[in-house]
Symmetry: C2
Subunit: 404 residues, 2 copies
Amino acid sequence: MKYINKKLTIEKVRIQDIAKKFGSPTYCYSYLQLKKNINNFKKNFKSFSPLICFAIKSNTNINLIREIKKFGLGADVVSMGELMMAVKAGISPKKIVFSGVGKTSDEISYAIEKKILLINAESESEIKEIDRIANFKKKKIQIGIRLNPNTDAKTLSQISTGKKENKFGVNERKFFELVDYCRNSKNIELKCLSVHIGSQILNYKPYEKMIKVVDRIINKINHKFEFIDLGGGMGISYEDNDKKLNYKKYSTIIKKFLKKHKSKIIFEPGRSIIGNAGILISKIIYIKENHKKNFVILDSAMNDLIRPALYGARHKTLPSTRRKKSSNQTYEVVGPICESTDKFITLKNFQELKEKDLIVMCDVGAYGMSLSSNYNIRLKPAEILIKGSKIKVIRKRQKYKDLM
Amino acid sequence: MKYINKKLTIEKVRIQDIAKKFGSPTYCYSYLQLKKNINNFKKNFKSFSPLICFAIKSNTNINLIREIKKFGLGADVVSMGELMMAVKAGISPKKIVFSGVGKTSDEISYAIEKKILLINAESESEIKEIDRIANFKKKKIQIGIRLNPNTDAKTLSQISTGKKENKFGVNERKFFELVDYCRNSKNIELKCLSVHIGSQILNYKPYEKMIKVVDRIINKINHKFEFIDLGGGMGISYEDNDKKLNYKKYSTIIKKFLKKHKSKIIFEPGRSIIGNAGILISKIIYIKENHKKNFVILDSAMNDLIRPALYGARHKTLPSTRRKKSSNQTYEVVGPICESTDKFITLKNFQELKEKDLIVMCDVGAYGMSLSSNYNIRLKPAEILIKGSKIKVIRKRQKYKDLM
């Protein structure tokens, strides 16, 4: 995205032209950015060519998943719905891993029927359930076991998943027990050790610790894991001054690990693939003066983008048209929903804003639309994909008849 | 709800029978409780028979709104979608008020076409927009102006709406300006002063302060308000030891106010009408042992009920079958979604739980289903209404084909 003649432009299309044609609020994705992210991700880990399973939960738009599939990526799914969506988008079941702490019997059965690569189990009960269903179906099922490495990802507590107080995975002692259990089962083939310590990680050191734990665990047992699933969690720069994850160091650590352990690495990135490829275009409905700050009321709300309300997340905010004049007002950018939580960001020293101006929130490609709702009976936004100067509607704006 | 022979029962139906027939997770509402809430609300304010406008945002199920309508209630709506839903449920437009800080031109036009009782405007820009549209349509429109009384509701900051730093309403100075503006407009009839200081209020004192402010403001201007809309916000007891709002005192304060100012009172209750009439039935998928606590993994998740993740809300949690044996374990009740935020409650000294047990979360009738989403491509729960021994499905469980 850049300004051309003061007009914010995504690839070759001006934001104002998108809003004029498709209305607002509208999610808009850049194909070029998506492609760049995928190619960078691949390049960073080229030396050991991992299986990259896109985390569907970050963005469930089938047309985007189809594009991602064309680059050879597989899918990380966490529910029957996501598995269906991945298969429908054309991703080969042989590239699909199923994660999650609460897979139901129906979900396990469905995954078995679809012959996916791996069910990454997260508890003793789940493994026993897989065993039971596999036995009933007279099938041998490939699974992974998710280890909780008790590693602090140094990220927000809400998106940390690899500490012992988190619900994910099993601890070391239980892991060994379950490896034994799997070896004694005629229905289970233990193919994978999986770990995932959290989301939006910008420092390679937690990953280093995590891999040390994995290394130590594998050394303790005589089991050949065909796959090591290192999860995702690679962070992106939401703020200009965010530091960047050092992929080179992370890759070096993994290469060192692979010299000792011959396994195929699986990654489950979501945010790092689609996060910065998406923006949300909104229009200012009203500007309301207040004693200390002015409220900028958008036509998008927490139902469209809940990350600020849910995690206190900040999304870089840009005007669609640059103006010289900057405002001495503090702008509090809010949505129209009747909750004080419905607030996006506070802007200081921002350019002067006017009613009907268009505002763009950046880096909303991941956990934006996928977490959206119909709260206040508001329609879900349209989704648009930009490829150069081409515009494709990849999900139509919801209609009231869909909700009544 | 009570236990009969150790089985949790809502009206005359056992929770386990509902789960057996309709699966889980399932929202379930008691007609009797709803009726009791409405009748109590009316009784509390009987002496001045207010217009009670149910806050649709708290629960958007059309069948529940139809039941509520039968008791003579109107609707408080905050979007075009909610206005459509209220009308579709049979509520007379003459009992509908439209609130919200960001009404779009389309929404204002639609409200004018539907001839609703009041558009409660929240900013100068909005009033000018109403004026412009009304002029274009050559109609005279009844409006209210929402005053921000700068009153602390002493509730959670996320649901406080009546302080000057909140986006809602206009301050005193602006209010006077806008009263003048309306008087000079040939398209606007200023009929109402509205206030709403927040949600889940359990102490009458903030209301007392709010009414003092309203009284002071009215005394300063020579304008007859046909309606005074006092909003909603009446809290309910989420915990057994929560204190109860003293309706009697609140009513007395209003009566005193009405002796000086002859107006019709409007209320906009949501939570106090439907909150404790709804429960969410979930099944335990797995129980996972941990060093200090056991994770109880339900088949419901933050997509079904987001209040704990969004506001840190606690919902009283009950087993469907009472057992004598209590557990010395701490239970952390979580959902299956791959986020650490997907956590409902921590239970200590609870009865021993087993996998496949049914768990009921109480008081989820308001802001439960209305805030639900399809995150992780999870289906929205079914909704059931219980009337004595009768069971009616008031919204079917979503199907995958609706999402693909």
